[in-house]
């Protein structure tokens, strides 16, 4: 986004792009916007700009690419404080030099920024073992609706002083302020890692996922791809993933003795179930597969992307139901977490999409939901982009109304018309 003078969000705009060089400048922009009754659309690396509903109020875009410094990295404390405009690649490269990392899989990490992935609450295959961003943000600074930089949390890994605003801002889609600075808790790089590839047919799938759930081993990832996605990944060099109706990818990370034992143990457990075609990618060869799996979330060819969340135990049946829906549906599931994303390419009209979404909603138990991550802009007002309304929706609107009464930040784009 760096060199653009303006930007369109969901065909709305052009919005003049501001690139402040200091937090004070951001504060001025917010105060000025408040006076002029204009909206502010915070932008990170621009990789997920199409997420949510179209903007509802004229205004300007603010990107933090000039605010990307490492503020403090006390390596032995395993925390880092950085400005929010830092790209994920920059961040991870800095950490890697000290044999540390933020264990979150981020699509298009070369462009995505920390502020952006926090706002969108990005996660990937390894969330099963390492959790999500809310588990790693220990301090946050945000420019609020009054143009003040406020902070919450701190720089120590354990801290219960004051309300935990970090949780509020993670996943708030930029609707409550502009994240300027973040302190993260870090993890050491594992000594060894491995991805076990386990092809499956539709019939065996539930049994295998149940087996993995009850396995003595401790996977950090239990992901599931359907054949459509496996084929897509196999177009990339060095993948050579086994093609079957379903491919389960089971990740292990720990010290060498532990990982090699886990692979052997899983092999034993699977042999008892007559599972065949086991293949393990050990060490650094697993990394490109993780990156490719993460990148699927933003696959450019997909014109409709939806994400379902449901109880993890229902993942296999739900995926099998989905696969009967359309032959061209590409699917990825974080099966250990009950998160399923589906992708469709062109050849779809609004009517069909609406019917599909309605049908899928009906398959999801009441505790779950279905959100649409991407679709043509014109469809957005006809589809339930943020899923069905929940009983805490009113409380969310009150949060927005109290912390941003003028509706300055990213108006109209989030749940409940926030």
């Amino acid at each position: 986004m760096a060199d653009q003078a303006s930007v369109l969000i969901d065909d709305f705009g052009p919005l003049a792009m501001h690139r402040p060089r200091s937090v004070a400048e951001i504060g001025n922009l917010v105060r000025q916007a408040a006076v002029e009754n204009r909206a502010i659309y915070p932008i990170g690396g621009g990789t997920m700009l199409d997420r949510g509903l179209p903007p509802s109020h004229p205004g300007l875009a603010v990107t933090l690419d000039h605010l990307s410094e490492v503020i403090d990295y006390p390596t032995r404390d395993m925390t880092i404080t950085v400005q929010a405009g830092i790209t994920i690649d920059q961040l991870q490269n800095t950490l890697q030099r000290e044999n540390q990392r933020l264990p979150i899989d981020v699509p298009r990490a070369c462009s995505a920024t920390l502020g952006g992935i926090l706002a969108c609450n990005i996660s990937g295959p390894r969330r099963y073992g390492f959790g999500t961003l809310r588990d790693y943000v220990i301090g946050i600074s945000v420019v609020n609706d009054r143009g003040q930089e406020i902070k919450a949390g701190g720089r120590v890994v354990k801290n219960v002083a004051g309300y935990d605003l970090c949780k509020l801002f993670v996943g708030s889609l930029g609707t409550l302020g502009i994240i300027t600075q973040v302190t993260l808790k870090l993890r050491p790089m594992p000594e060894e890692r491995a991805l076990v590839l386990l092809p499956s047919d539709s019939e065996t799938l539930p049994k295998l996922l149940n087996l993995l759930h009850g396995s003595r081993t401790c996977p950090v990832c239990i992901d599931l791809l359907n054949e459509g996605f496996v084929r897509h990944l196999n177009h990339q060099p060095k993948m050579q993933l086994p093609e079957a109706a379903w491919l389960i990818l089971v990740g292990y990370e720990d010290n060498r003795d532990n990982v090699s034992w886990q692979i052997q143990q899983l092999t034993k457990e699977l042999a008892a179930e007559n599972a065949r075609g086991l293949d393990a990618r050990i060490g650094i060869t697993s990394q490109p597969i993780y990156q490719a799996m993460g990148d699927l979330a933003l696959r450019p060819e997909s014109s409709l992307i939806f994400k379902a969340n449901l109880p993890a135990g229902g993942t296999a049946d739900f995926c099998r139901q989905l696969s009967g829906l359309r032959i061209d549906l590409a699917m990825q599931a974080h099966a250990g977490n009950g998160i399923v994303t589906g992708h469709l390419e062109h050849d779809l009209n609004l009517e069909t999409a609406r019917d599909l979404v309605q049908m899928i909603h009906a398959w999801i138990p009441p505790s779950g939901n279905l959100v649409i991550h991407r679709c043509p802009v014109a469809w957005k007002k006809h589809l339930p982009i943020w899923g069905k309304s929940r009983n805490d929706g009113g409380l969310m609107r009150r949060v927005k109304h109290t912390l941003d009464p003028q509706g300055i930040f990213n108006p109209g784009r989030f749940v409940e018309g926030i």
Binding site: V156, V157, G162, K167, W261, K307, N309, G338, S367, R390
Partner: protein, 478 residues
């Protein structure tokens, strides 16, 4: 206070919870005048024991009608005055809502009522090989509702996180009596993470009536080591080096000389009485690879001048070691008639510094200080020993505690890692946060608790300004 219909609030409350669900005689109320923070005390005007969400909602509505403040209470084991009824009013004790409503092993969650005792849940899950990860030292008594309110920690937070990392959703009675559900058994619900902000809000946002928690698989094996060091510096350097080597132990607990002596007198573990510090170092998980980690840890300790490194040889050995740690506070009773514990946090690498400063403060105020704490997190628990019958000592202890926390702030740390702000540390909030930060927190509170009637005068220094503390006149009218 009476309404035009002539019914008093007490009558109204009794109609909700029955005679057996209400206490208001002065002797009964004495139990509820404080929590584990005993320096300030104040009795509530009445204590009620709801047994359902609907009870809580009706109690809250009644309090609103009569304009009387109210606050929730679990087992009262909190250490910062979080459930101290500052303005009197109605205390809503949740200890009779103690059912485990659902356990779902396949989807890895359980649903509990707020009064379920922390350890009950883990005991209940034992046959399935699962447990509830947060395990504060008070886990035999404290409730999961209380854990949720204070975002409790415990010795295993370094690897497994604190309560908020294990709470998936809440059924929640708002201070206006409405019931909402945030989050739930399924991950990634769209919208703001309201569960995340409610956990740790110390009862100032409302009252949880049902809690969805994540359950975790029990580690298959442990290696528990005890390192004996001549100096605290050597012990703390060992901690940094272990983590620097990429090992995340399940627990890293430090005991200093004074506490070692007290614990040894109580439990006869065999701690050397002349050692400067001891470290309990435990790795857990799958059996495979644990020996590698344990050997590395032992080597790191030796490199940092450990006098000896012992390994727990049996489960009984390990259990005794943990008993010494978890009941260390009890053993302190041998050292002095009263004690007060602090809960500061510093970056892990500043531990040697803060412990030296604590020693200086101890000398300055002539207050003995024992240290036993979660070293891996940098969360210190200096225990200040005194005799509460001596007002001079009480004053010196309070001053020494403040100096310690001030130094934690100066080190870039915090004044509470797991006990909470409550009333005890409310005056430190302006030292940690500037007025804009606090105003933002106040605005967030006003979303949930606009009248400030729920848990007034907690957490934020300016909070609840519109609430009048319950005065004698008001009490009489109850």
């Amino acid at each position: 206070m009476s309404t035009s219909t002539g019914h008093s609030l007490i009558d109204r409350l009794r109609s909700i919870v029955g005679h057996a669900g209400l206490l208001n005689s002065p002797s009964d109320l004495l139990v509820y005048e404080c929590d584990g923070f005993t320096i300030e005390k104040n009795k509530p005007d009445v204590v009620v024991f709801p047994t359902s969400t609907d009870d809580i909602a009706r109690i809250v509505q009644a309090c609103n009608e009569f304009q009387v403040p109210f606050l929730p209470r679990g087992a009262g084991t909190s250490l910062a005055g979080g459930c101290l009824p500052v303005g009197g009013g109605v205390m809503i004790a949740l200890t009779r809502m103690k059912r485990i409503l659902e356990v779902n092993i396949r989807d890895r969650y359980a649903v509990v009522e707020p009064g379920v005792v922390n350890l009950w849940l883990s005991n209940h899950l034992k046959p399935f090989g699962f447990h509830f990860a947060p395990d504060p030292s008070s886990q035999g008594a404290c409730t999961i509702g209380g854990n949720t309110a204070t975002n409790s920690g415990g010795p295993h937070t370094l690897k497994y996180g604190v309560t908020v990392n294990h709470v998936l959703g809440l059924e929640f009675v708002l201070p206006d009596g409405r019931v909402v559900q945030t989050g739930g058994p399924v991950e990634d619900n769209p919208g703001y993470d309201l569960t995340g902000v409610i956990v740790g809000s110390e009862g100032t946002f409302g009252i949880a009536s049902k809690i969805w928690v994540r359950i975790s698989r029990n580690p298959e094996a442990y290696r528990t080591l005890l390192g004996i060091f001549e100096t605290v510096d050597d012990a703390t350097n060992t901690i940094s080096d272990i983590i620097g080597a990429g090992i995340i132990p399940g627990a890293l607990e430090m005991l200093d000389r004074l506490i070692l002596q007290a614990v040894e007198a109580a439990f006869h573990f065999g701690f050397p009485l002349d050692a400067g510090a001891a470290l309990i170092m435990e790795v857990d998980g799958l059996d495979a690879g644990l020996d590698t980690d344990a050997e590395r840890i032992a080597a790191i300790a030796i490199r940092n001048n450990a006098r000896e490194v012992r390994r727990a040889k049996s489960e009984a050995d390990r259990a005794l070691l943990w008993k010494c740690r978890k009941q260390a506070f009890g053993a302190v009773g041998r050292l002095a008639p009263s004690y007060c514990t602090q809960d500061g946090v510093v970056p892990r690498t500043r531990l040697p510094h803060i412990l030296r400063v604590i020693q200086k403060i101890s000398d300055k105020y002539q207050v003995r200080v024992a240290n036993v704490f979660h070293a891996g997190d940098g969360n210190i628990h200096p225990i200040l020993l005194f005799d509460e019958r001596d007002p001079g000592q009480v004053k010196r202890v309070l001053q020494a505690g403040h100096d310690i926390l001030d130094e934690c702030i100066a080190c870039g740390g915090s004044v509470t890692g797991e006990h909470g702000i409550g009333v005890e540390k409310i005056n430190f909030m302006p030292k940690l946060f500037n007025p804009e930060d606090l105003a933002m927190m106040q605005r967030l509170r006003s979303v949930f608790n606009p009248d400030g009637r729920c848990s007034p005068l907690k957490m934020l220094p300016t909070a609840g300004a519109c609430i009048e503390p319950s005065k004698a006149g008001r009490r009489a009218s109850l």
